[in-house]
Structures are given as structure tokens and as C-alpha cells.
């Protein structure tokens, strides 16, 4: 069992040798194997200083099979998908895709901290698309704060009001006409993530 913030020695027998392969299958490419640990990704990442493991370390850990540490890391959740690392990587490792795959696995297993905003927003987004085919920003942000920190809703209400009065907030969510078609399509895809998010 993983314990937050507690470092311990990892023995080789505890590693998960299949972990890297699972990631490769999820991302649909095996570029992660090409990593030479140069650290270009970590230096180009605008948010690496806020991460618990830099992208370079996370890639190394993922390859070696540090299953729990990787899935519990804050790093993928702090990644804003700016693709700097992907563009700069001299070995063309698709790092942003790897981050997405780790996020999916962590959400599947529900190992991220409860009420942690990033996965809450992602799941809310997912459900809105399923319900309406389109997303409504006002509702997204309201739900995000209600499910994570309702106090923030009060703090942010000033921006909300300003958006509303400038006509930038759609109160009634838009819905596509052929939502049945979209739902059939989504159902037909053999989804590779979010077991819990499907419900």
C-alpha cells in the first residue's frame, strides 16, 4: 500500500514490469522507450517547478515499473498540455500523451486525492459532453467548485457576475440535435479509460 509522503526503499521484486507496456498501449506509441534521460522536457516545462517528480523522472520511473509512485504523482495533474516537452524532446518522446495516459490510469483506479480539482473537472467535462454534446463553461466551473471547495464559488462570484453581465455566460446549456448519434458513437468506441467515469 502506498503511503503519502513516506519514502522507502523499493526492491526490484516490487516493481511492475508490465506497467510501461500498459502505458505504451494506452498512448498508442512506444516512443517512451527512446528516452535518453537528457532532461530537456523538465527544463522546458513551464510548471515543472511545481511538480513532485519532474517529467524526466516520471518517465524514468514509469519505464522501470514504479507503478504506485507514478499513479500517485501530482505531476500529470499539473501538466497543462502545452506540448513544450513534446516539441523540444530530441528523441521525439510523446511526453504529453504519456501524461494523459497516466491521468487515465489514475482516474480508473481512483488513486488521486478525493476532491482534487483537476480530475473532478475532467469528469464533469466528460459527463457534460455525454449529456449535451457540448460543454457549458459556467456550469463546468460551478460544478467544479461545488464538488471541491464551495467557498471558492463565493470568491469567484465576482468574475461570474461580470461574465454574466457582459453576455459571456450561457445560462442555458446548448445541446446538439443528434445527441442519440453522439451517444451511439461514444458507446461503440471501446473506451480505454475512465471505468468509473462511464457510469
Amino acid at each position: 500500500m502506498y503511503e503519502w509522503g513516506r519514502r522507502r526503499i523499493k526492491y526490484e521484486s516490487e516493481l511492475d514490469p508490465a506497467f510501461c507496456q500498459t502505458l505504451i498501449e494506452k498512448t498508442g506509441n512506444d516512443s517512451i522507450r527512446n528516452c535518453i534521460q537528457c532532461g530537456t522536457c523538465s527544463s522546458t516545462c513551464p510548471v515543472s517547478l511545481y511538480m513532485d517528480f519532474t517529467p524526466r523522472r516520471l518517465v524514468a520511473m514509469a519505464r522501470e515499473g514504479f507503478h504506485d509512485e507514478v499513479l500517485h504523482s501530482f505531476t500529470p495533474w499539473i501538466c497543462a498540455s502545452c506540448y513544450s516537452c513534446t516539441v523540444e524532446c530530441p528523441k521525439e518522446v510523446k511526453i504529453t500523451e504519456t501524461m494523459y495516459a497516466i491521468k487515465q490510469m489514475a482516474m480508473d483506479k481512483g488513486v488521486h486525492p478525493a476532491r482534487f480539482p483537476v480530475p473532478v473537472l475532467a469528469r464533469e467535462f466528460y459527463h457534460q459532453v455525454k449529456a449535451n454534446g457540448r460543454t457549458n463553461e459556467g456550469r463546468l466551473i460551478t460544478q467544479l467548485f461545488l464538488k471541491t471547495n464551495p467557498f471558492k464559488l463565493i470568491k469567484q462570484s465576482k468574475i461570474g457576475m461580470k461574465l454574466f453581465f457582459s453576455g459571456r455566460l450561457d445560462v442555458i446549456p446548448q445541446k446538439i440535435k443528434n445527441i442519440t448519434q453522439l451517444r451511439t458513437l461514444l458507446k461503440a468506441v471501446n473506451g480505454n479509460g475512465g471505468g468509473r467515469a462511464h457510469s
Binding site: G28, V47, Y50, A80, S84, P117, V118, L121
Partner: protein, 293 residues
């Protein structure tokens, strides 16, 4: 050429001014467009974190709808995508269909069961790409009635317009927006933060991190003497503009600077009214200084 317009969810919400100004500008320039009928959300970055294959399916439905709608013209179908996230997601889905045979088969099967088909005949274009490479800068100069002389603009492209699938501009130092606004008389800033991340959805989820990223961009633009920041993405515009009060409280430094869409500046230069360009929706009011007229 009639472009198939894919506005995306943000342009119908917080980014309404982008939608309004872009359509007004295109009309003035004689660029014909038709909205993709019944388009759905592209999935952006959030959906990709939940389910990748379904994210590709979302994008593919839009591509399939565009193809079906555009094909009767007998011409190649071009989808005009102003939002950075939509632009990236559509390109990414296309790339996936090209490179991953297994992924393509899975997706084709799913599309078929929903009564859709995508043959891969759509090209995804950004409005800046159209203005620079199809219309040309001379056409823009011709339409300029109120040149933006003396206005110092910091062009901010955001991440996902050139990364990682740059199709029309440089990944490190994009210039399309600078060229467009310079053609209309503005002076543009040479600065290295054109594609630095604004924080994306993190201003909502992890504001400690997200707001600082936006703050850095505003501060650097101000330091270099910019009068206004021009953006090409609804989320960038929202982050840079709407959190300025919060940033002042958080970081103890005022970074008040107008943040507009490049299309709003184009519209001003072309003599369109503030209403047509959605200028009344801005949190930080912007008017072209009298000196620059």
C-alpha cells in the same frame, strides 16, 4: 471557397467576442463561411484525460459531419477552426487516423455504427493561416481604413496553435498574427513569450500555479511597453483578462493591460463598430488611442 466554420463551445460562451469579431471581419473581407451543422464539443484537454479513444471519436464526428456537409460542393473541404484547443484536437485526431492503423479501424467501426463515415478529405485551417496564406497581406492592407499606427501590440499565440502540429507557422517564434496586425499598421512586440503556457484550465483548478503563469505573461508584456495583448484563443484571453484583479491581490502588483482577440484589432482597423466586434464584452476596456488614427 466556402469554409466550414467550427466555432467550438468557448466561442459560444466566454469567447463570444472572438466569434462575433471574426465573423464580422471575414464578412468584410469576403471570406465565406458556413457553420458545421450540429457540431459537438472537441473534447479539449479535459476529455483526453478521461478517455482517449472517445476523445478521438468526438473529434472524428466533427470531421465526418464537415466532410458530408462540404462534399456536395465537389471541392476539398476546409474546416476553419479559430479556437486553439479545437484546432489542436482536430489535427491530433487526423494524425492518429493517419499513423495508427488499429486506432483507425476501431474508430471507423464506431463511426459506422453511428451512421457516419470519414474518408480523411478535410483539411483543418486556422483563421490566421487563411488571412496570411490565402487572402494575403495586401488584401488586408487594402481593407484597412483606420490603420493602427502607433499601437504597440504584444501578439500572444498560446500553446496549442503551433504545438505540436504546426501547419502554417514556426513552433518557436510564430509570426502570422504579427504579420496580419503589422499589415494593418500596428507595431508588434518582439518577445519570447508568444507561445508560453497561460495555465489553461489550471487557473480554475490549481490557481496558485495557473494564475502565476498568466501573471508572468502580462507582466512581461507590460514591461516591454505593450499597449494591448492580442490573443487567438478563448481560454488564453479569459485567463489573461478576467483574473487581473485576482492577480493584483495575489501577487501585489498591478498588471492591468487590455487583452483582446486579434480579430477585434483587425475589425477596428477595418472600421467596424465596437458592437460588431463585441468590444463591450471586455473586462478591461480597450480603445485604439487617438494618436494612432
Amino acid at each position: 471557397m466556402t469554409y466550414l466554420y467550427y466555432p467550438g463551445c468557448s466561442l459560444k460562451g466566454t469567447g463570444k467576442a472572438y466569434d462575433e469579431s471574426l465573423l464580422a471581419v471575414m464578412k468584410k473581407l469576403g471570406v465565406e463561411q458556413q457553420e458545421i451543422d450540429d457540431w459537438n464539443c472537441c473534447g479539449a484537454t479535459a476529455y483526453m484525460a478521461v478517455d482517449q479513444d472517445r476523445a478521438y471519436a468526438l473529434a472524428s464526428r466533427n470531421l465526418a459531419l464537415a466532410e458530408a456537409q462540404g462534399r456536395p460542393n465537389g471541392k476539398p473541404v476546409e474546416v476553419l477552426t479559430p479556437c486553439n484547443a479545437c484546432y489542436l484536437v482536430l489535427l491530433k485526431a487526423q494524425k492518429r487516423l493517419e499513423e495508427d492503423a488499429l486506432g483507425k479501424r476501431k474508430l471507423a467501426g464506431a463511426l459506422e455504427s453511428a451512421g457516419l463515415n470519414y474518408e480523411g478529405k478535410v483539411s483543418v485551417r486556422h483563421p490566421l493561416d487563411i488571412f496570411v496564406n490565402e487572402l494575403g497581406l495586401d488584401a488586408l492592407k487594402e481593407k484597412t481604413v483606420n490603420p493602427l499606427n502607433g499601437l504597440k501590440v504584444a501578439c500572444y499565440y498560446g500553446c496549442q496553435i503551433v504545438r505540436p502540429y504546426s501547419t502554417f507557422d514556426d513552433q518557436y517564434d510564430p509570426v502570422a498574427m504579427d504579420q496580419v496586425l503589422e499589415a494593418m499598421g500596428a507595431e508588434t512586440l518582439k518577445w519570447p513569450l508568444k507561445t508560453r503556457c497561460c495555465g489553461g484550465s489550471m487557473t480554475g483548478t490549481i490557481p496558485e500555479v495557473g494564475m502565476r503563469l498568466s501573471f508572468i505573461i502580462l507582466k512581461e508584456a507590460k514591461k516591454r511597453g505593450a499597449d494591448v495583448i492580442a490573443t487567438a484563443c478563448p481560454l488564453c484571453q479569459f485567463n489573461l483578462e478576467c483574473y487581473q484583479n485576482e492577480m493584483r491581490e495575489e501577487f501585489g502588483e498591478a498588471v492591468d493591460i487590455p487583452v483582446v482577440y486579434f480579430s477585434q484589432l483587425m475589425g477596428k482597423a477595418m472600421g467596424l463598430s465596437d458592437r460588431e466586434l463585441g468590444m463591450q464584452r471586455l473586462f478591461v476596456p480597450f480603445a485604439v488611442p487617438a494618436a494612432s488614427k
